[in-house]
């Protein structure tokens, strides 16, 4: 399972949530999963060539989570207000608003899942505020962190967090100094502290072991391992490279037999298994996977025979799935044994289908195979836990992104659409459908799907934690479209949620069973929707509230 994909221009693309334990992205922000397809490269491994079904398909774009939108805690929503150096804290149940100072220019904010604890990074100072909300109010505590930090990753046990400058994300300009410094925050009560560490070049993501005891910083140089228990003071921490950095005679052109990876190669879809034993990545534009045993630091290369366009690792780390778009195949690789023994791998051939991307359900029992760039309205549902044959899904429109519900029973598929006015006179129904934005809802057990066309582009969406419903944001300022759609995942019915201003983000407040929809409004507006009943309430002017003076 992968919550989002970072597609980086230089070296790494990291699936931060590859082992299902990444910090706090399970509740807030868009949940896109797209084909991280690449341009063919001629110098490494096997590449796409004559006879492949997808020759020339463009690179597909990923979607990222924003740290600059409101974030939900257990009961409260936190809204950074950099202009006022405050964070507004909104009680999702009472809509009471409080404001707390949070350093100089608090901007990038993340919440600890299922708690009312938030971390917010300042843009005008190298500081981070730790906010904790209780019945008596919200406290703020400041820590020094790496200059220019704009990304936060919180361990699943909420005991530690890692902040760093992710140059691929919106930032305030690259500061002078090292791109290799991070800050590790100890969040344990009574031990709160910040520790500066050096890691590999240009960190792009952080993932954690299932127990939260170890963090893995994905960098251009490899994976830096953070053993939190051992981080008691300044020290150098190990970085395990995906490259084969040994200088041998092979460099002079003598092939020793094993697949060779160019020193300029980039790796993508980096994942660390839940137990922290294995890091896995694909070598961009090649047929190669690279796996590193993080304990022994022994690496191995796996050639799958056709360009790997996507790689996903099961939440429990027991297997990986690789998409071979050019070969119309998907390969299931048991971990770790399937890396060295090709006979243990399961090759699923899907003739005629463009298998550019694969998305695993949260339980790893199913996978959706599709392409987000090919002009095909097909997708394929794989049963990875049982013996059901792959099911071809006729979705009627090309796929842009896919998200499974947390329970894995349903999925939401966002579609691409053709150019042109869908409502132009004289169009036949098929053309109208082609030109309309929309999304499909899929019941995995029955393979039943429902297409819902929308009158504007499908914006951010989310599936609520209990899997009962999904929320899709729709916005078109020119046509005064400002609403969300609440989709029941029990019967696939869609209900409009009218909003007072254009929606920009959606998240969930787990204890309150409420979704919050952040909107574009001068004074700030958030609409809370009970995801069970649809009851909605809005709070507007929460920034003004904090300016009431007596």
């Amino acid at each position: 399972m992968k919550a989002y994909t970072l597609t980086l221009p230089l070296v790494f693309a990291a699936a931060l949530d590859a082992c299902g334990s990444a910090s706090n992205d399970s509740l807030a922000g868009p949940r896109f999963d797209t084909d991280a397809g690449t341009q063919p490269r001629a110098d490494v491994g096997s590449t796409g060539g004559a006879g492949f079904a997808d020759g020339g398909l463009p690179r597909e774009t990923g979607e990222t989570r924003s740290f600059q939108t409101p974030q939900g805690g257990a009961r409260h929503v936190y809204v950074a207000n950099p202009a006022r150096d405050h964070v507004e804290v909104i009680d999702a149940e009472t809509l009471a608003i409080s404001s707390v100072e949070a350093g100089d220019g608090p901007t990038y904010l993340a919440t600890v899942p299922n708690t009312d604890t938030a971390l917010v990074l300042d843009v005008n100072a190298p500081t981070l505020a730790l906010l904790q909300t209780t019945a008596t109010g919200t406290t703020s505590r400041s820590f020094d962190v790496v200059d220019g930090a704009n990304a936060i990753a919180i361990a699943p046990d909420a005991q530690h967090a890692v902040v760093f400058l992710d140059t691929a994300q919106p930032n305030q300009g690259v500061p002078a100094g090292s791109f290799q410094e991070i800050s590790v925050l100890d969040l344990r009560p009574g031990h709160e502290s910040s520790l500066a560490l050096s890691v590999g070049f240009r960190p792009t993501g952080v993932t954690f072991s299932g127990d939260g005891a170890t963090g893995y910083v994905v960098t251009e140089d490899g994976v830096t391992i953070l053993d939190f228990a051992a981080l008691t003071g300044p020290r150098l921490v190990p970085t395990v490279s995906f490259r084969d950095d040994a200088v041998t005679a092979d460099d002079a052109g003598v092939d020793g037999g094993a697949p060779h990876i160019s020193r300029d190669a980039t790796v993508a879809d980096v994942a660390v298994t839940r137990d922290g034993h294995l890091a896995l990545a694909r070598v961009d534009g090649t047929s190669l996977l690279r796996a590193v045993d993080l304990r022994t630091r022994v690496a191995q290369t796996v050639d799958l025979g056709s360009e790997v366009t996507d790689l996903d690792v099961a939440p429990d780390g027991s297997f990986a799935v690789a998409a071979l778009r050019s070969a119309s195949r998907v390969v299931r690789i048991p971990l770790p044994d399937g890396l060295g023994d090709a006979a243990m791998r399961t090759v699923i051939s899907l003739p005629g289908e463009v298998t550019g991307s694969v998305t695993l359900s949260p339980d790893g029992a199913r996978a959706l195979v599709y392409s987000s760039v090919a002009a095909t309205d097909h997708a394929t549902l794989l049963d990875l836990a049982g013996t059901t044959a792959p099911s071809l899904l006729h979705l009627r429109k090309p796929v842009r992104a896919v998200a499974f519900a947390p329970d894995g029973r349903t999925a939401l598929v966002v579609h691409r659409h053709a150019d042109g006015d869908a409502h132009a006179p004289g169009l036949d129904l098929a053309t109208q459908i082609d030109r309309s934005p929309g999304y499909s809802l899929l019941d995995c057990a029955s393979r039943f799907s429902v297409l819902a066309l929308t009158d504007t582009e499908v914006g951010p969406f989310m599936l609520v934690p209990d899997g009962s419903s999904a929320f899709v944001l729709l916005r078109d300022d020119a046509r005064n479209i400002a609403r969300a759609q609440r989709v029941s995942l029990a019967n696939f019915t869609v209900r409009d949620v009218l909003l007072g201003s254009p929606p920009v983000s959606v998240g969930a407040v787990s204890l309150s069973h409420r979704v919050f929809i952040g909107q574009d409004h001068p004074e700030g507006r958030i609409t809370f929707v009970d995801w069970s009943t649809g009851t909605q309430q809005s709070v507007t002017g929460f920034e003004l509230n904090s300016r009431i003076v007596e």
């Binding site: 809509l95 005064n480 009218l498 007072g500 201003s501 309430q537 709070v539 509230n545 003076v549 007596e550």
Partner: protein, 524 residues
């Protein structure tokens, strides 16, 4: 018509003719502020003479009394819910031979007595609570200051039921974010933080100030309506109070949201801090909302809003903060709520648009509106665009004027029957007034020696011929339904008309009363 000429007219003329060395006071202006009707009396304030002339029409023969006022009377208004006039005097700044005098506020009764409160500043505007107990003197931002320096955010709160004292009036300067008070609205008495109290809401540019009249010693609460970086000219323009829920609703020009201030109890930070604080929210209300009205019950409060910019009406659920949009066939910029009778809860809303934006009105049944939506809307075509409107929900009528060339035409909309009766008129509705029991509407056409009226019981129009053109018509209180047609003239002149018998034969002319006492004064 029965003329009543005061004898002082002749005496005053003789005195003037006989003067050799004229007393400077003979050169003082006889001009008055616009007359004020309160109870059965008419109050004429003569600023140059520092006095008010009170003509009590409650007796068989009108009684005339002169009441001394503070120097520089600038404003006279009826006191709310009382048969008194309030006169705001700016005082005298002093000059050669003229001593300075303080500004003051006077409450003048029909019997010729006055209570006076000294004010610290030459205020130019006055606001009152509905019960007439509280008056707030402020500076009219559009008035000339006539002072070298003045603080436009200074104000004086006067308890009109209490005698002048060290704590009455309370003078203070309200916090400013660069603006000045534009208007003041008083709340009804409502329970806030467990205590019944009245609030004064001071409307300024882009913010409002709440003053607790029960605790005038406490700090005011200032609520900004925009963030500092917001350049919109958000000007508060309408305030409604939800007494049961201790909530204030505010509409502002240039904002598409309504501002909702729920007054919640807090622990005061100090002895002079308030024990409540507004919890601010904003309700999306379409594009350019122009009027709002509260409906529903306390437990399910709704706000009905008309938004001509989006040509719709919206029912806002203040609990869920959701809106039900009602597209309208005719644009509307005003709301009139009415029920089965004057005391019954409102069940219907009339939505209408003035200033030529619509020629039809919409009736909206409020019951189950959120579910029935457009099914509850009925449009009535009037056939002519609406210029102005005079709503009279107690009588279940609305009088519309329609721009029609040089003369105006009227429609009387029967809210019960949902019919519109055209009435052709040579006058506009500009100066129309209702009489005291709101049974007859009176119009004093500019320059005409006639007073028009429409009896709202049968929509029967009529007119009364006058001896001179009327400058205005005012309704008088008291037992009888009477109006006074005011005439120009330095000596003071009005025609008293019996609303029950609106004929020239039953009218009386009262004239010369502004000369009251002048002869006595000159002989001193």
């Amino acid at each position: 018509m029965n003329p009543i000429l005061r004898p002082q007219t002749l005496c005053f003329a003789l005195v003037l003719a006989a003067c050799g060395q004229r007393d400077p006071r003979y050169g003082l202006s006889m001009a008055t502020l616009p007359p004020v009707a309160a109870g059965s009396a008419l109050f004429y304030v003569q600023p140059a003479l520092d006095r008010a002339v009170v003509v009590d029409t409650g007796t068989t023969d009108p009684t005339v009394r002169s009441v001394a006022l503070g120097t520089g009377a600038a404003l006279a208004v009826p006191r709310a819910a009382h048969a008194e006039a309030l006169v705001l005097s700016r005082g005298e700044r002093g000059s050669d031979g003229v001593d300075p005098a303080p500004a003051s506020l006077a409450a003048v009764t029909a019997t010729g007595t006055a209570r006076r409160w000294t004010l610290d500043a030459p205020f130019t505007a006055l606001s009152q609570s509905d019960d007439g107990r509280w008056a707030l003197a402020t500076f009219d931002p559009h008035a000339v200051s006539e002072r070298l320096l003045f603080n436009p955010n200074e104000l004086a709160l006067v308890d009109l039921d209490a005698a002048p004292s060290a704590t009455n009036p309370v003078v203070r300067t309200v916090r400013s974010f660069g603006g000045v008070p534009q208007r003041v609205v008083f709340s009804p008495a409502m329970v806030v933080a467990g205590e019944r109290r009245v609030l004064a809401v001071v409307l300024s540019d882009a913010y409002v100030t709440l003053l607790d009249l029960a605790h005038p010693d406490r700090s005011e609460v200032t609520v900004r309506l925009t963030l500092p970086e917001d350049t919109r000219a958000i000007a508060p323009s309408q305030v409604l109070f939800d007494v049961e829920n201790a909530t204030i609703y505010l509409r502002a020009d240039a904002s598409n949201d309504l501002y909702v201030m729920r007054l919640v109890q807090v622990t005061p930070a100090s002895a002079t801090s308030e024990d409540f604080r507004p919890a601010l929210n904003q309700l999306a209300a379409g594009t350019h909302p122009s009027d709002m009205a509260l409906t529903g019950t306390a437990a399910a409060r709704r706000v009905l809003v008309v938004s001509p910019g989006s040509q719709d009406a919206r029912l806002l659920d203040t609990v869920a903060n959701t809106s039900t949009v009602l597209p309208l066939s005719a644009p509307a910029n005003h709301i009139l709520l009415f029920g089965a009778d004057a005391t019954a809860p409102a069940t219907t809303a009339l939505l209408y648009g003035t200033n030529g934006v619509a020629s039809a009105v919409s009736f909206v049944a409020l019951t189950d509106l959120a579910a029935r939506r457009s099914l509850n809307v009925e449009t009535l075509q009037l056939g002519r665009t609406i210029g102005d409107a005079l709503p009279l929900p107690e009588r279940k009528v609305v009088l519309f004027s329609h721009p029609s060339g040089t003369t105006g035409s009227l429609s009387l909309l029967d809210l019960s029957q949902r019919t519109a009766a055209p009435i052709y008129s040579e006058a506009s509705l500009g100066g129309a007034r209702f009489d005291g029991d709101r049974q007859t509407v009176w119009v004093a056409p500019d320059g005409l020696q006639r007073l028009g009226y429409i009896d709202l019981d049968g929509f029967r129009p009529g007119e009364v011929r006058l001896d001179a053109a009327a400058t205005d018509v005012v309704a008088l209180g008291g037992a009888a339904r009477r109006v006074a047609a005011l005439h120009a003239g330095a000596e003071g002149w009005f025609t008293l008309i019996d609303g029950a018998q609106p004929t020239r034969a039953h009218a009386r002319s009262v004239r010369g009363f502004l000369l009251e006492g002048l002869l006595d004064e000159g002989a001193q």
